[in-house]
């Protein structure tokens, strides 16, 4: 559709990260989404997050299914690996890729249609397995790509562009994930990069599946009055119940935090997430309290945002399966396939 290209010119003051790249080196092809689509802002936030984390693009894999949201993997990190799977199958393809090569950083991008309708089962099992990946749901309440039908995340009473109200109850991916034992779950808004970027960075550093549900308005089919996933509605009903700052490992951590209003969580790689308390009684490391707060907000028709729950003690898929630390792809043929004698001795154990 689009033939426009970004001029190769850069701002002369553009900084480089620790591995010598500018933010623009993390960009991809020009987006072909509708102008103003929230998904493009999520892409921009990912570009910035990956740049700030000094992520080597060739050590990342972008995984997606089908939908406008799933198309966005083409719009960032053009140097990275990627797999664009069939509708709803991103979680299992990522599980497989991660099983074979645990050395890469997996960035899964999905939509509310891709993950909460056709791919719901896949999502659930990826959470249960705790596949180490960042799992982004660009949540706009509609199937954008197929012209705006209500998705499974549409709220009761939210209207379509033509004015028809949705009558079926929504699936809230955050509540769902909490019940399935997720070890990292957050909700944010494509229009609030200040909140979103630290969350994405923390998610990319998490030792397990980090689910980030991002309200990402569909300007074309779901940004009207009456929609509960529009820019305006989200801004008016967004309640940040936790504020997280991400401090990567290589940054020195200044004076130990004594302020009781700050809750510090150390990630497995030594980086740190600092929570500033915005809601009394909220504890982002307590699953029950997280569930209760998100539920309470939902009942007040508020959108609970922030890094809502984190558990760094969980075991990821590889830990549970006790695989070797070396990525399977890096093993020699002999190590991977030690021959008939080894097979027979294994079989012997089950006899």
């Amino acid at each position: 559709m689009t033939s426009i290209a970004k001029p190769p010119v850069r701002h002369p003051g553009l900084r480089k990260n620790a591995i010598g790249f500018t933010q623009r080196d993390y960009e991809g092809a020009m987006s072909t989404l509708c102008a103003g689509c929230g998904h493009d802002s999520v892409t921009a936030a990912l570009v910035q997050a990956c740049w700030e984390l000094d992520l080597p693009p060739h050590r990342a894999a972008k995984m997606s299914g089908i939908g406008c949201s799933s198309k966005t993997t083409a719009y960032f990190m053009k140097q990275s690996h990627g797999f664009n799977s069939v509708h709803g199958r991103m979680p299992s393809v990522t599980s497989g890729a991660n099983a074979a090569n645990r050395g890469l950083t997996y960035i899964g991008i999905s939509g509310d249609g891709d993950s909460l309708s056709i791919g719901l089962g896949q999502l659930c099992h990826a959470i249960r397995r705790n596949v180490r990946m960042l799992y982004v749901i660009d949540n706009n309440g509609v199937y954008g790509l197929t012209k705006g039908q209500f998705s499974a995340s549409a709220d009761i009473g939210s209207t379509s562009k033509k004015g028809e109200a949705n009558v079926q109850p929504p699936i809230d991916p955050v509540l769902l994930a909490l019940t399935l034992g997720v070890t990292f779950v957050a909700r944010s808004f494509s229009g609030d990069k200040a909140q979103l970027i630290p969350i994405l960075k923390a998610g990319l550093s998490h030792n397990g599946l980090a689910l980030v549900d991002i309200i990402s308005p569909c300007v074309t089919f779901n940004d009207h009055d009456g929609s509960t996933k529009s820019y305006k509605f989200t801004r008016e009903h967004d309640v940040e119940i936790s504020t997280a700052d991400f401090v990567p490992l290589r940054h020195e951590i200044r004076a130990p935090e004594t302020d009781s209003a700050v809750n510090v969580v150390t990630m497995h790689d030594g980086s740190v997430v600092r929570f500033r308390k915005t809601h009394e009684g909220y504890n982002p490391t307590d699953r029950e309290s997280a569930y209760a707060h998100v539920r309470a907000c939902q009942q007040r028709h508020e959108v609970a945002t922030g890094l809502l729950f984190i558990d760094e003690s969980g075991s990821d898929m590889h830990a549970v399966s006790r695989t070797v630390p070396t990525p399977l792809v890096d093993l020699t043929h002999h190590e991977l396939c030690p021959g008939n004698a080894a097979l027979q001795s294994l079989m012997e154990k089950y006899r």
Partner: protein, 592 residues
């Protein structure tokens, strides 16, 4: 919060068009470049002529203040070759005479006298003749053009070009009294003119009064630069000795050394008092002189002329770096250390006040009026030597004043600048200007071979751009006049524009108290304080503000392309300039 930028009056958008803003006459550069790109050379020439009056002359000789200002220079280090493209339009135009302004057959009954037929006076004539004024020009010499003719060497500015462009004005019906030097302003005023304009230039070359200057045997070998160039022009001087020293390193020095080189000064050296970074000559003139083998000696301060056996044999200099002296042998010396004004012909008791310290007339900066009603100054005569394009702008402003004065209107109630804004959107990904960024480097001007250059004084050095060079060079222009125009009430704060901007110009920022803080808060810190920020009124949803750092915007239109609500649009800005012959603004563009 910083106040929202006023885009209803022309200042902000005008300043974004760096070249036009820097041009003393505010020539609409991007528009004339687009006309060249379309092959519409005649229209391009006419558009130029409206503001700068001498496109062919200026396309070769302009001091080009627009180029150091050009935004493209901040993108890839080299500005668009604005000046030489002007020459392309002049070289390739068709006959423009049918489209030039004409004097009406019914006169308005007013008579004005202009002293000097340099660019300043000629511009006044150009602007007043179409209004029916009777314009009388007094010129001491036999030809029109002033220093453009007598001092700028023909290898930079061919006579044909001068004749044509001075002719366009004079042929409108100016009564030029050649070979008529005004020797008494009082007497001229007594002839009953409705107004008098003094465009007599700064005709006196500065002296260097050091030992030996007036000695026999030296005197006749020491020349004043502008007089010497004049003598060469008139054919009174045809040769110079081989070893020539040029004292001074301004643009006059460059013309002197290059002329000297052509007249036999095979060992011509330019001697500068200070080091290279303080040289007054334009970088391209220094380059051209270097190409012709002229050596430039830095940090040498003249002490005396060395005369042996009644002949000039050299000059002694103090070397300011080593604190010793040195003698550089020479046969001739040309002094090119500046020009002064001289008004021996203006009586000091006729109501024109002079500044006691500099003995310069007191001239109002906006109206160009002297302290005597009806007497105006402009060009080099007003505040000392400047350049052609300033002389032209002075002429335009003085013409407005003269017209106001002749109608009995106050001089300080001047017509103001206006603007037009027109959307350039044509459809999906389609704009009425070429918004693709062209990464080509600046085209290099081709020069005549050295042998040919030195064969005759009038061989023009610069050959002009080829059609291929022209086609590429015009595309380097970023179309800064196609402005990013913002409508805050339409913005839904989706960030699309901020994210897409290739050069990080845009930020949706919190409403902070002052601009300095704001500059540091942006997507990329706005460190070039000479470039303004655009600050929007507060945005509907979050009350934040849209801020744009104008500094290196490519005018690529991607922000407008990606905006879902058309809050950004690319609008063509046209500055409407008042002229005496059209106080309501710029003429309609001619379509040929």
């Amino acid at each position: 919060m910083p106040r929202a930028t006023d885009v209803a009056s022309p200042h902000h958008y005008h300043k974004v068009v760096d070249c036009q803003y820097a041009c003393p006459a505010h020539t609409n550069v991007p528009e004339y470049l687009r006309l060249i790109a379309q092959g519409r050379y005649t229209e391009s020439y006419l558009l130029n002529r409206e503001s700068n009056v001498f496109p062919g002359i200026l396309g070769r000789t302009c001091d080009r203040p627009c180029e150091p200002a050009c935004r493209r220079g901040r993108i890839d280090g080299k500005p668009v070759a604005i000046c030489r493209l002007k020459r392309v339009a002049a070289d390739l135009r068709n006959d423009v005479t049918p489209y030039l302004p004409k004097a009406p057959s019914i006169r308005n009954g007013k008579r004005v006298a202009l002293i000097g037929a340099g660019p300043a006076s000629l511009t006044v004539a150009n602007d007043l003749l179409p209004l029916g004024y009777d314009v009388v020009i007094y010129e001491k010499h036999a030809r029109a053009g002033g220093l453009m003719r007598f001092n700028i060497p023909a290898f930079r500015l061919p006579e044909r070009v001068l004749d044509e462009e001075t002719g366009y004005i004079i042929d409108m019906g100016a009564d030029v009294r050649y070979n008529t030097e005004v020797t008494s302003l009082g007497a001229l005023i007594d002839e009953g003119y409705d107004a008098v304009f003094i465009g007599s230039g700064a005709p006196k070359g500065k002296e260097l009064d050091i030992p030996g200057r007036w000695d026999d045997g030296a005197r006749e070998h020491i020349h004043i630069g502008i007089e010497w160039l004049g003598s060469v022009h008139f054919g009174h001087i045809e040769k110079i000795a081989p070893r020539v020293l040029i004292i001074g390193v301004g643009n006059t020095a460059m013309d002197c050394c290059r002329t000297s080189r052509r007249l036999g000064g095979t060992h011509t050296k330019v001697v500068a008092r200070r080091s290279r970074q303080f040289f007054k000559a334009s970088p391209w003139e220094l380059e051209d002189a270097g190409e012709e083998g002229i050596e430039i000696v830095e940090n040498h301060s003249p002490k005396r002329f060395v005369i042996e056996n009644g002949t000039l044999v050299g000059m002694e200099f103090e070397r300011t770096e080593t604190n010793d002296t040195v003698i550089i042998p020479c046969d001739d010396v040309i002094l090119a250390i500046g020009q002064d004004n001289a008004f021996p012909w203006i009586e000091r008791d006729i109501g024109i006040e002079f500044d006691a310290k500099w003995d310069m007339p007191i001239v109002d900066k906006a109206s160009f009026a002297s302290t005597k009603p009806g007497v105006f100054f402009g060009g080099d005569a007003a505040w000392g030597p400047q350049n052609i394009i300033w002389a032209v702008e002075h002429g335009h402003q003085a013409a407005i004043s003269i017209h106001q004065y002749a109608q009995g209107l106050p001089l300080d109630d001047r017509p103001t600048q206006g603007m037009n804004l027109t959307s350039t959107k044509m459809g999906m990904h389609s704009w009425a200007y070429s918004n693709d960024f062209n990464p080509s480097p600046r085209s290099t001007m081709l020069h005549a071979e050295l042998v040919e250059r030195f064969s005759a004084i009038g061989v023009e050095v610069e050959l002009g751009f080829t059609p291929e060079q022209t086609a590429t060079e015009v595309e380097r222009c970023l179309n800064c006049d196609v402005e990013t125009h913002f409508e805050a009430s339409l913005c839904i704060e989706c960030d699309a524009c901020v994210d897409v901007c290739p050069v990080s110009c845009l930020t949706i920022a919190p409403n902070v108290a002052d601009e300095v803080d704001l500059r540091m808060l942006l997507s990329a810190p706005a460190q070039n304080a000479t470039q303004d920020l655009y600050v929007s009124p507060s945005l509907p949803q979050t009350k934040r503000i849209m801020v744009k750092d104008e500094d290196i915007c490519l005018h690529c239109g991607l922000c407008a392309e990606r905006c879902p609500t058309a809050a950004w649009d690319m609008k063509k800005f046209s500055l409407v300039l008042p002229y005496a012959f059209n106080v309501d603004g710029t003429l309609e563009m001619v379509s040929v």
